[in-house]
């Protein structure tokens, strides 16, 4: 065997991941990706192992519900053949490894810095002199936007090459939000502090990232979460999905100057996040999910309250959607705008709702079910056109689906376990992986512990890591004035990418 085969949230000794030569590693993982669209790379990273760098690649097989983990040890001063030459889904991962360790990847289409991490190998590279792709031509001009944007949003730089009003090419430069999350998770010693850092990876995906972190931690400690813990987490994740999808529909309305839609969807998010506050004291659900612990019991009162909230919400949500999606002036802005083909989505390794909007069925809730998704028998909603319209339609349909799941979950609320079971220490010399389907898509956290039981590396991958490229593809040949609506239809995370 050249790889280990594990399931979601499983821990294995690092020694059980076969260490093969880079050539074999290359062939094996390239083979997995080319074999089927059901296999995709969920994480690929390096960490120092003495003088050498150890590379670990995790490929999820959605059909067989397993993850293939392989590893190799390479010399960081050398150059390696690049997987990205033919398989663009490795493009970002190789750039990250290059940035952190200095390993060259020959044939890589553009081995540029990824996020200007504080611990990057080459400190002479600074964010102010990013090497943008350029095209020379009399008719062409460049448009630079950011890092600070017009709205109240996070920073990132967009560089467009346009022919008149038409976008030929967009390059997205990120890294402004880099806070050093991964190294802080290693250097902080209290779990209560680490979990708060995980909670802040992306403030719009609090449930998603905290769940992934808690799952990795519990898996490494050999802790089996009780039913009530799983219940709270599943519920929080679906509430987060409803809240953000609703807000995104409002943002899309704002971008096509549809005032009523923007106002109604904007305020419809409030009862959902206010419910989170009633439950745990924070509108974004911070503090709700903790490893090995159910801090906020879901009481019968809360259950009654949520039933009422959803009842009113659902009616108003549907009413507003019916209006929006029957308005020719809005539809003409959504339809055939920002399309990405299925072929391109597969090639760049897109995940989550962006992938599903282009006909690519990627949803961890059904392919690698965690928490209570096994019992919910989730069937992903899939759209075909891959345009702004599809991505909005997907949200419109996923929200009622989440409401159905929440109602189903609330029919049997598990008994609350007030006393947290103490968790043991982290298993030494081990590797753990957790995949979670956040509202944006697949979140992947991986951890490796040393022989002393301390974390050697903690690796976070937000779905935005894959999906920013999809946005760059989406805007090609569109009018630059349609960029905001394309961008909003993806709503990707800057801080989740930059870490």
């Amino acid at each position: 065997m050249k790889h280990a085969t594990i399931v979601n949230n499983q821990t294995i000794p690092v020694s059980e991941i076969p260490e093969i030569s880079y050539d074999e590693f290359f062939e094996l993982n390239a083979g997995f990706i080319t074999e089927s669209v059901e296999t995709h790379c969920v994480n690929y990273f390096g960490y120092p192992a003495g003088e050498m760098t150890k590379l670990i690649c995790c490929i999820a097989d959605d059909l067989h519900h397993v993850i293939y983990v392989s590893s190799c040890r390479v010399n960081p001063t050398g150059d390696l053949p690049s997987l990205s030459v033919n398989l663009f889904c490795f493009e970002k991962f190789e750039r990250e490894i290059h940035e952190n360790f200095g390993i060259g990847f020959t044939g890589h289409p553009w081995l540029k810095p990824l996020r200007y991490a504080h611990n990057r190998k080459d400190k002479t590279q600074t964010i102010a002199n990013y090497p943008f792709y350029t095209i020379q031509g009399e008719e062409l001009h460049e448009v630079g936007v950011g890092p600070i944007h017009a709205g109240v949003i996070e920073p990132g730089h967009f560089r467009f090459i346009c022919n008149g009003e038409q976008i030929l090419h967009l390059e997205i430069q990120l890294g402004y939000q880099h806070r050093g999350i991964e190294s802080l998770l290693l250097s902080r010693s209290k779990l209560s502090e680490q979990v708060q850092i995980a909670e802040s990876i992306a403030g719009d995906s609090v449930a998603g990232h905290t769940l992934a972190f808690s799952s990795v931690w519990e898996s490494l400690c050999g802790f089996n979460a009780t039913e009530d813990i799983h219940f709270s987490r599943t519920l929080a994740l679906e509430l987060e999905r409803i809240a953000v999808h609703t807000g995104d529909l409002g943002a899309a309305c704002a971008d096509v100057a549809y005032q009523l839609g923007s106002a109604v969807f904007g305020r419809l998010r409030t009862p959902i996040i206010n419910f989170l506050q009633e439950w745990c004291g924070n509108r974004l659900g911070k503090g709700l999910i903790r490893p090995g612990n159910n801090t906020f019991p879901f009481t019968p009162d809360l259950s009654k309250r949520l039933t009422e909230v959803l009842h009113v919400f659902e009616y108003q949500f549907i009413e507003m959607n019916d209006e929006l999606f029957s308005m020719p002036s809005a539809l003409s802005r959504f339809e055939r705008t920002g399309s990405v083909s299925l072929e391109n989505m597969v090639s760049i390794g897109t995940v989550g709702m962006a992938a599903r909007s282009s006909g690519l069925k990627r949803d961890i809730r059904s392919s690698h079910p965690h928490s209570l998704y096994g019992t919910l028998q989730h069937e992903p909603i899939v759209k075909r056109h891959g345009d702004v319209y599809s991505r909005l339609q997907l949200r419109k349909q996923e929200v009622p689906q989440s409401i159905t799941y929440i109602r189903e979950l609330m029919t049997s609320v598990p008994e609350y376990h007030p006393e947290p079971v103490p968790m043991g220490p982290l298993a030494p010399g081990s590797f753990a992986i957790s995949l979670v389907e956040g509202w944006r898509g697949e979140i992947c956290h991986c951890a490796v512990t040393g022989n002393d039981g301390k974390l050697l590396i903690y690796k976070v991958k937000d779905p935005s890591f894959h999906n920013w490229m999809a946005l760059a593809m989406a805007v090609r040949n569109n009018e630059i004035s349609d960029f905001p609506i394309c961008n909003k239809s993806f709503n990707l995370s800057y801080c989740g990418h930059d870490l």
């Binding site: 806070r179 050093g180 802080l184 209560s192 802040s200 506050q277 974004l284 029957s326």
Partner: protein, 250 residues
């Protein structure tokens, strides 16, 4: 058209009539109150993941606190979070809550620069800069402008360009990579201008304090006009803070 009228009818009036008196639903972690009960202070200090608590006398620094509620859960007889969301202030010192005290936190009018009242009383345009913010404070700042909280009715808005702004609102711990863009943005804002820090990350670095990837030197150079704590700050905290700063006169 008929559909629109129906929706308007169903929506009814959504705005909060008086944002200075609104109640927040359910559990809310607002201004903490520390009792004089005797507890093992060292344990209390050690438990806080963000080093926001100090002993002898027990104090809690809201500028460092992430409002995770852990201290109140483990020491309910000592620390309690009230639903008082008016916790914005213009003095860093006022963010520190002392044991045995139960005083509202607010603006000290004596510390407010004169031009703030003179110029920004009826209109305040702000440029927001997220410098490593995790999009939670940004989300709440946007919410402050939605139809419910409707901060715009007071003449307070976020604007697209620093050239049109009367001040800069900073979220996030200020990453090294955002230090220069923040400075450029601040320099581009015409005088007189204010600086507002929103969220624990911006006020003290929060859980990122000491991270090698952040650079907070910008804050050493200028006077901070308003601290709005929270993780994230609640829209009502934001609105009341800005109103009190610009409208409360001596």
């Amino acid at each position: 058209m008929l559909g629109h009228i129906k929706i308007l009818y169903h929506e009814g009036k959504q705005f909060i009539p008086d944002v200075t008196k609104a109640q927040v639903p359910g559990v809310f972690k607002g201004r903490p109150v520390i009792s004089t009960a005797k507890v093992n202070e060292q344990e209390l200090v050690d438990l806080c993941p963000l080093n926001a608590i100090s002993a002898g006398p027990v104090t809690l620094d809201m500028g460092k606190c992430s409002f995770c509620g852990e201290c109140a859960r483990q020491f309910p007889q000592k620390i309690e979070f009230t639903t008082d969301y008016k916790i914005a202030t213009n003095s860093r010192e006022s963010l520190i809550i002392r044991e045995g005290e139960n005083q509202p936190v607010g603006i000290n009018p004596l510390l407010v620069r004169k031009e703030i009242h003179d110029l920004f009383r009826n209109s305040l345009k702000l440029r927001q800069v997220s410098a490593g913010g995790d999009n939670s404070c940004e989300w709440e700042l946007n919410a402050a402008n939605n139809v419910q909280f409707d901060m715009g009715r007071f003449g307070i808005d976020f604007v697209a360009s620093p050239r049109h702004a009367d001040g800069v609102v900073i979220t996030g711990p200020i990453t090294e990579n955002m230090a220069e863009p923040l400075q450029i943005c601040y320099d581009a804002t015409p005088d007189p201008k204010i600086i507002v820090l929103v969220g624990t990350d911006a006020i003290s670095g929060g859980m990122f304090a000491g991270s090698p990837a952040i650079d907070r030197s910008f804050l050493d150079k200028y006077h901070i006009d308003l601290y709005i704590p929270g993780n994230p700050a609640h829209p009502l905290t934001v609105i009341n803070g800005l109103l009190d700063l610009t409208r409360k006169t001596k």
